[in-house]
Structure formats: C-alpha cells, structure tokens
Amino acid sequence: MTRALGLGAVLIVWAAVSYGNRTLELVPPVLLPTPGEVATVGVALALDGSLARNVLVSAGRIAAGFALAAAAALALGLAVALYTPARLAVEPVVELVRPIPPLAFLPMFLVWFGLGETSKVAFIAYTTFFPMFVGIAASLLRVDVMLLRAAASLGATRWALLRRVVLPAALPGIVVALRLGFGLAIFVIVGAEFIAADAGLGNLIMEGRVFFNPAQIVMGALLLGFLGALVNTLLVAFERRAVRGRAPR
C-alpha cells in the first residue's frame, strides 16, 4: 500500500517538475520529458509492435545466455565441490579472472563472434557464469559437516550423502546464485545492446539518444526497471517455494 502511495508521489512530483518546466523553460523542455510524453512514446511503440518485438529480442538473449551459463555453472560447480583437485586447479584462476569487469570483454566478444546474436548470447553467458559458478560451488562446499555425520551414522554411503544430504542442503544457496545471475544478465544486457545491436530494449534506449528523443530513453529505462523488478519478484517467490518449510516462521 505504502509502495503505491510512494510511486504516486513520485509521479506527481515528476509531473509537477516537467510540466512546470514547460511553462517556465528553465531547461529546454525536450530534455525533461513529461509523464505524458513518455507514455505517448510507449503507446506508439506498443501499437506498432516494435516494443514487444524489442523486449522479446532482449529477453531471448538473456534467456539463452543464462541457460547456457546456468548449465555450465551447475556442472562445473558440482565437479569442483566433489573433486578437490579440480577445485584446487580452478579456484585460483577464477579468482584472477573475476575482478575484471565483464563489460570490458564485450568488444572481445564482438571481435570473436561478430555483431550478430551469438556475440550477445555468448557475452551474457560469460557474464553470468562466474558469479553463479562461485555461488553454487560455495553453497555445496559450505554444507554443514554435522549433517554429513548424522547421515553417515544412519548408514549413508558416499552417493547417498551426495543425493540425500549435500544437494538438498545446498539447494537454497544454489537457487539464490541462479537468481542473482539472472539479475546480472538483466543488468548488462542494455550495455551489450548499446554498442552493436539493431534490436532489443537497449537498442531502443540508445535510439532515443541518437534521434534526440529523451522521452524514449526514459520510457525504455522505466520499462526495463519494471520488467526487471517483475522477474525478480517472480524468482523470489519461486525461491521461497523451493525452500518451503526450512526457514523458521
């Protein structure tokens, strides 16, 4: 309830400032789009289908890149957690590559894969892989040794320990890692689409700059924020279902 009130308040302030600026012309009005102008752009693009098209293109890239990265992160995370030699070999290298901002590799991906879809999907996969891999491996490695002891004293073999203790115990952490990875994908997709894309929400936003249409920029940004928040809410709800019962009420 209070959130809706807060949003309403922001809307009112925004309207007041931008419409006020129209009359007072403190700043060139085109630079301070009104809610009406932003809505108009949105509706126009929605009606001619390009809004939906661009959103779907971005969504497709995120989905594909994320799926690839998630599969790799799960496989590698499991391998590293279960085989100490693998962990000792991989951990130091990951620690070296991690501090490099993924966006710094974006041009490399464009060089390697050209300007098409592959480069963006590959870039999203690369960006989301590392944090998910680290998070998944950490969740597995962190499994409380006491749980292993309890199960072993009930007769568990190695494989029973893995299937019936390690995986269920690590599940909450794994789900969180995947959710954060997805959020990161949404975070960087715009950046990837600024540089070399002919479609997508990021491209739409950048068009707003190229054609000097700030209203389009604001529309795109708000839409992106809204969609991102929506997806995050859904993922959090999904996460809560996955760990149902465990957290103290």
Binding site: R149, G245, R246, P248
Partner: protein, 260 residues
Amino acid sequence: MNRAGERARVQVEGVHKSFDLDGRAMPALLDVSLEVHAGELLCLLGPSGCGKSTLLNIVAGFMPPTRGRVLVGGAPVTGPGPERGVVFQEYVLFPWLTVAQNVEFGPRLMGTPAAGCREIAARYLEMVGLTAHASKFPAQLSGGMKQRVAIARALANDPAIVLMDEPFGALDAQTREVMQEELSRIQRVEHKTIVFVTHSIREAVYLADRVVVMTSPPGRVKEVFTIKLPEPRDRFALEFTQYEREITRLVKEEVMKVHE
C-alpha cells in the same frame, strides 16, 4: 555372551588423540582404555576440554585416533556406521525433511519399503510422544521436541549402540530433567548400549549404570564409578546425593587443575 550382546560391546584400546594446529600438536586424549558392556548406559563425565566429546567422535568414527583403536562387536572402527547411532547436542535434524521423514531416513537408506519405513517412524514417534507433529518441519519445533526427534531418528535405525554427545546441553533446566526421565524410560524398554557424554554430575548419576570420570586435558580415565541405585531413580534420595558428592569431589580436583 550371545551374538547380540557381542555386537553391542565397545572396547576402547589405548586411544591417543592429538590435533594438529598448523604444525603444533595439541594432545586431547592420552592413553584411554575402557570397555562398554552390552546394554549398559555409560556416562563420560569431566571438565571442559577433557576430551570426552573427542572420544565419542572417535567411537562414532568421525575421526581416527592418533594411536590405539576402538572395537565394536569385535571389529575395528574405520568410519561411521548404522550400528552406532548418534544424537548430537545441536540436534542436526535435516531441515528440508519433515519430522516423520527425518525419522524414516535410516530405514529408507537401508532399503526398507516405504510402508515399512512409515510404520517404523510412527512407532518411534509415538515412543517419544511426537505423533501429533509428524508433518511439521524442524524449524517449527522447540529445542526439546527437536531432540526427541533426533532420538527417535537414531533409534528407528535399530543401532546396537547409541552415542549421545551432551544431547540435553542446549535445553533449559526443566526440559532437561524431563528429557532425562524420557531417556531413562526408553532405555528400560530398548536396552541399547548407550555412551552418554555430559558435564552435569546430576545428569550422570541419574542416568548411568557406570560413570567414567575423565581428567583435565589431555584427557585420561581418572576413575570409574558403578551406580547402584533402584530404578526409577530418586534425585533426592540419600544414596543419590552420596554418589553426587563423591563424584563432584573428584571432578573438582580436575577442574582446579585447569584453573591453576
């Protein structure tokens, strides 16, 4: 001694345990030898750090001794196993399983068919008085209830030996006494071999057939008491207090050594 009796016998032979703290060796146990008779409840008692929990962990198979060995049913211990059930101080229930599923865990691992598992779980849940809570998750239970689930879980697997590491340590005083009475009652029915670690002398005298008093670190066996009291035990009986007094005197000697 019959087969079942032999299975439930624990022999600790010359066990030493040292921990390695980045180069330095910290001795925890020093030449401990004792025998746990089949069907008895043996308490390991001593001041903090005397190694009683370490000894229990070694019998459980959670860590190897630095020297010496432990025999269970005549066979040396090389790791944990279902014949040695464990009840931990922090309960260690599986948080993603319900109470009933926790208790069924052992039988399920053994390959018992699902119906059989449920029946076993129901029986032991009734024994500890938690039938009404079978579908709850551990997070929804109080400490005393969690510990009862842990006991049911350990017993449901029908181990020959039950190892308990200060199981009532995290409970308040009232619940603790109630749990002691529960355990005593269950033991009179099940007749398991129980090795029970505690630092409470009252608890030891109430529960144990024999009490092993350990020295201050590095731990050795100081003295072994046989408690001859009628069941169920009266905490305020004269004989009870006499045992308490005698054991307290010995434990205090060791505690004083630590504070020197």
